[in-house]
């Protein structure tokens, strides 16, 4: 693999850029792999990468029915944070955030991790209590957060309105080492590194069946033929139910549409990410200058990658109230992604009833920020059968009533 650098760019510029090679090889499937990952999104590619890097398993294929990174990896609002309340969540998201910090250097691919800080506004007494609790929990989890005053909020976000007539800002939970990254680049960077380790990324290859023998996986059937494998990781987000059905088990997952939008680009006016849960909206400014806005999820099963306009209205209303200066900006584009929601809204990283088959899904609205951590833990699970990062997220927690409920911090009003 030719290394990327400013020097390489200058050298290629002099050479008419003829020397750039493919970022990843155009592979055709072999007959057998030690491990197959279904789904070349961020999570699937990261899993393959850490299988190779941490466990030396490089005879790996990543199968993708469309184009790599074409699902939710490229359809989110790019926020990276780890200020979660429950221990298992804080552990995996913080691992992820820490890996993001050095990912550009590790992959030799600028994923533009921007640790600009994420704040979550507290706009009711109840939220103040919830976020203070989170700050306490984070201190013991090794996640650096603090509860900050309205004055500090205004210093960090000059465009905010603290004293809205309906929900004044009472403070915020602030994580200064959280931030954003360039979403597509994360998939591309991992893909390039996987390909460089000799792994095969096979695009436009749809899995149509999962072959089993005596309760154990032996391979997959695909639109590019049958491929044998010893271990199979299913990492397909919204389409997990369909794959699980092929493998012969059910999942506590439903797929719904989640929406987002961006404004036209303007010069820098907001340096941090702000999430306002009481009014349901969050916003940051991309390096291109667009205000990136996250909206709500529909409550019904949906595979269309579209959503209803009323969610957009609700979100924009909340943000115009919170950041009044955006009123005369314009919405450039809205879109939807299909997210997979579990019964407790936390992900599933687990063994399955089929030996050798592992599932990674249910990230709901939180998937992008988890990519490196999820890949790290899931690779360990696939390689060793257990991982402290993923064990609490097993499938059997639903039967045992051992939930990982992150809605707790938001809670219910009294």
């Amino acid at each position: 693999m030719k290394r990327y650098s400013a020097f390489a760019l200058v050298r290629e510029a002099l050479n008419g850029h003829k020397g750039w090679e493919r970022a990843w090889r155009n592979a055709q499937p072999k007959a057998h792999y030690d491990a197959i990952i279904i789904g070349a999104g961020g999570h699937g590619l990261a899993t393959a990468y850490y299988l190779g890097k941490n466990f030396g398993i490089t005879n790996v294929a990543i199968l993708e029915k469309g184009w790599l990174g074409g699902g939710n990896t490229g359809r989110n609002t790019t926020i990276i944070r780890s200020n979660y309340l429950q221990d298992p969540s804080a552990a995996i998201y913080e691992k992820s955030r820490a890996l993001y910090e050095t990912l550009s250097q590790e992959l030799n691919y600028n994923i533009m991790f921007s640790p600009r800080g994420v704040m979550m506004l507290a706009q009711t007494e109840h939220e103040v209590r919830g976020y203070r609790r989170t700050a306490h929990a984070n201190a013991l989890q090794g996640v650096s957060t603090e509860f900050i005053s309205p004055r500090r909020v205004k210093e960090l976000v000059p465009i905010i309105e603290l004293n809205g007539p309906r929900y004044p800002v009472l403070g915020a939970l602030w994580q200064d080492r959280a931030g954003t990254a360039r979403h597509d680049a994360v998939a591309w960077g991992y893909a390039r590194a996987c390909s460089d380790m000799g792994m095969d990324i096979i695009q436009k290859c749809e899995v149509t069946g999962i072959t089993r023998e005596g309760g154990r996986v032996t391979g997959v059937q695909t639109t590019k033929g049958d491929i044998a494998c010893d271990r199979l990781g299913i990492v397909v987000a919204g389409h997990s139910g369909v794959l699980a059905e092929m493998a012969g088990f059910r999942l506590p997952v439903e797929s719904v549409a989640l929406q987002a939008l961006v404004s036209e680009p303007i010069k820098p006016c907001m340096d941090v990410v702000v999430m306002a849960n009481t009014v349901h909206g969050y916003m940051s400014q991309s390096d291109k200058g667009e205000m990136v806005i996250g909206g709500g999820a529909d409550g019904f099963n949906n595979y269309t990658q579209r959503g209803s306009f009323h969610h957009i209205e609700e979100t924009v209303r909340a943000l115009v109230e919170t950041f009044p200066m955006i009123s005369r900006l314009k919405m450039l584009r809205q879109w939807g992604g299909i997210v997979d929601m579990t019964g407790d809204r936390s992900p599933i990283l687990s063994k399955t009833p089929i030996e050798g088959v592992f599932i990674n899904c249910g990230w709901g609205t939180g998937g992008f920020k988890a990519i490196p951590g999820s890949g790290w833990g899931f690779a360990e699970l696939m390689a060793k059968g257990t991982s402290p990062l993923t064990d609490p997220f097993s499938l059997n927690r639903f039967g045992e009533g051992r939930f990982i409920d992150e809605s707790v911090a938001a809670g219910v009003a009294h």
């Binding site: 999942l251 506590p252 439903e254 529909d298 409550g299 099963n301 209803s308 019964g343 639903f398």
Partner: protein, 109 residues
């Protein structure tokens, strides 16, 4: 913005008048059920890419719960019907069979 017909008041209601309620025709498992049954009742959900049966409430209208048969891929609504039944009406099942030959959902087809 989906639009569904409330089978109680006959109104074509925009999604903003309605609350979605998830999978329809679940059988309640209470005390005495085994762990697997109970887990399946509470959490395991049909998540088909295609025909789906689901619950809605005309929350900002007559307040009644009702059922809808809908395609999750095209969003086509095959019909809505009373929530006070354990099985979709046969004519609705026939309609779906006509439009989506070979469909199946749980033990329905």
């Amino acid at each position: 913005m989906l639009i569904l017909k409330c089978p109680y008041c006959g109104v074509m209601a925009d999604e903003t008048e309605l609350s979605p309620g998830g999978e329809a025709h679940l059988t309640r498992h209470g005390p005495g059920s085994d762990d697997t049954e109970f887990e399946a009742y509470l959490f395991m959900r049909e998540n088909p890419r295609g025909v789906h049966f689901e619950r809605w409430r005309h929350a900002h209208g007559c307040g009644k719960w009702f059922h809808a048969a809908r395609c999750t891929q095209t969003l086509e609504v095959f019909g809505t019907y009373s929530a006070q039944t354990t099985r979709p009406p046969q004519d609705l099942l026939d309609t779906i069979s006509e439009k989506r030959p070979g469909w199946r959902w749980r033990d329905l087809a």
